[in-house]
């Protein structure tokens, strides 16, 4: 009899423990330690299709000049960053970028050498629920080609000449260098002169204050 009572009370005690742990689970939050995420795949696909995932180099240059409220993230290695980086950029590894705590509305522009790394980081940050993340289309390569060292062929259309004039101004702003004009696109293209890193760094210091 006593034995039965003991076993009965143990059963009830265990049931009570299970019930208690079940009730606590209601308030415990997610058990997944940040590894579990929900992605709205259709929303991501729509953003990519409508080209809302990236920014062109020209527009990005405007944003920097207008001192827009954004953070520019350089995802390359520290050596490449030291030799040159886009003004206002901050060096972060992919892991640091993911672990960093930030408000979800913060605007981020990511770039890497060609853009693949930045695009991968874009998907990861989107998966973490960040709303305003963009990559620089074409990465640093596009920035150098279009903003720092633009070229103009002699057969350029009036629109291309207008664009070149704008880029020339941008190039002067960002590189303090006048871009060379390509006289002949097929024969001997004028070699663009590289921007001395020191000058760019100085420029970076200047523009960084505004952001």
């Amino acid at each position: 009899m006593i034995r039965q009572l003991t076993s009965l009370s143990l059963n009830k005690w265990l049931a009570l423990a299970a019930g208690g742990l079940g009730v606590l689970a209601l308030f415990a939050g997610s058990p997944f330690q940040g590894h579990r995420i929900t992605i709205d795949l259709k929303d991501l696909a729509r953003t990519i299709e409508s080209e809302g995932d990236h920014v062109e180099a020209d527009q990005f240059a405007d944003w920097i000049m207008l001192k827009s409220r954004m953070r520019v993230i350089d995802l390359r290695d520290s050596l490449s960053f030291a030799s040159y980086h886009i003004p206002t950029a901050q060096l972060l590894s992919m892991e640091e970028l993911l672990e960093e705590r930030r408000p979800k509305e913060e605007m981020l522009v990511l770039y890497s050498e060609g853009g693949i790394h930045a695009a991968q980081a874009w998907i990861l940050l989107k998966a973490k629920g960040l709303a305003n993340v963009y990559t620089l289309k074409g990465g640093l390569n596009a920035w150098k080609e279009e903003i720092l060292f633009p070229v103009l062929s002699e057969t350029a259309s009036p629109e291309e000449r207008v664009l070149f004039a704008k880029r020339k101004a941008l190039s002067e702003y960002f590189g303090r260098e006048s871009p060379p004009v390509r006289r002949d696109t097929t024969a001997t293209p004028a070699k663009p002169r590289p921007v001395p890193p020191a000058k760019v760094v100085l420029e970076r210091e200047k523009t960084r204050d505004g952001c």
């Binding site: 299970a18 019930g19 079940g22 009730v23 689970a25 209601l26 939050g29 997610s30 058990p31 997944f32």
Partner: protein, 201 residues
């Protein structure tokens, strides 16, 4: 070190077989101790006279569920690394029906027929023979049934995902269901159970 230990490399493949053997022996031991070596006791649940199968299985489910949840919450277990078999809805419903018919007819499920055979019961051996024959037959005919076997795939389907509920709420609801189930089981047993002599045989 975090669990699952095998996934995080605490032991290799050879050692994992030894661990599996020990877990298997433990599993069989507790099934036998719960009385699952007897087809009579197992079949009794279908007549509501002895619902120990329901109670033991639901207890195991709730214990494992609370263990996985709270160990993950404490950071001792990485839930994303725990293997969850993929769901193939229609083939698994058909499989469940075959399983159920076999259980009602023979009085054993795959695990308990091994327990029955290990304890020397002849019907356990017959059931085990049937199970192994079925496995071999299925293996030989696999190319014919593979299309059906892989139909209606749902991937790693879990209740919180399917029901779009927070994990904690799902845990709470299942614990509630289990406790209510136990109470109903006890009530049914009280109503349908025969004399103690018959139940104890």
């Amino acid at each position: 070190m975090n669990a699952p230990f095998y996934k995080f490399g605490l032991f290799g493949e050879d050692a994992s077989l030894v661990v599996a053997l020990l877990i298997g022996i433990g599993f069989g031991f507790f099934l036998e101790r719960a009385g699952f070596g007897s087809a009579r006791k197992l079949a009794a649940q279908f007549y509501f006279t002895d619902l120990r199968v329901f109670k033991v299985m639901f207890t195991a489910i709730v214990t494992a569920m609370l263990g996985v949840f709270w160990l993950s919450w404490l950071g001792l277990l990485d839930y994303t690394q725990v293997a969850v078999p993929s769901t193939y809805l229609v083939p698994q419903i058909v499989g469940g029906l075959v399983f159920g018919v076999g259980f009602v007819m023979g009085g054993y499920c795959p695990g308990t027929c091994c327990v029955a055979a290990a304890t020397g019961r002849l019907d356990g051996f017959v059931h085990l023979f049937g199970m192994i024959s079925g496995i071999l037959l299925f293996g030989e005919l696999f190319s014919f049934v593979e299309g059906f076997y892989r139909s209606t795939p749902m991937g790693r389907a879990t209740l919180p995902d399917l029901l779009q509920l927070p994990f904690g709420l799902t845990i709470f609801l299942i614990v509630l269901l289990a406790l209510a189930g136990f109470a109903v089981a006890e009530w049914l047993e009280g109503k349908f159970a025969p004399s103690t002599e018959e139940a104890g045989s």
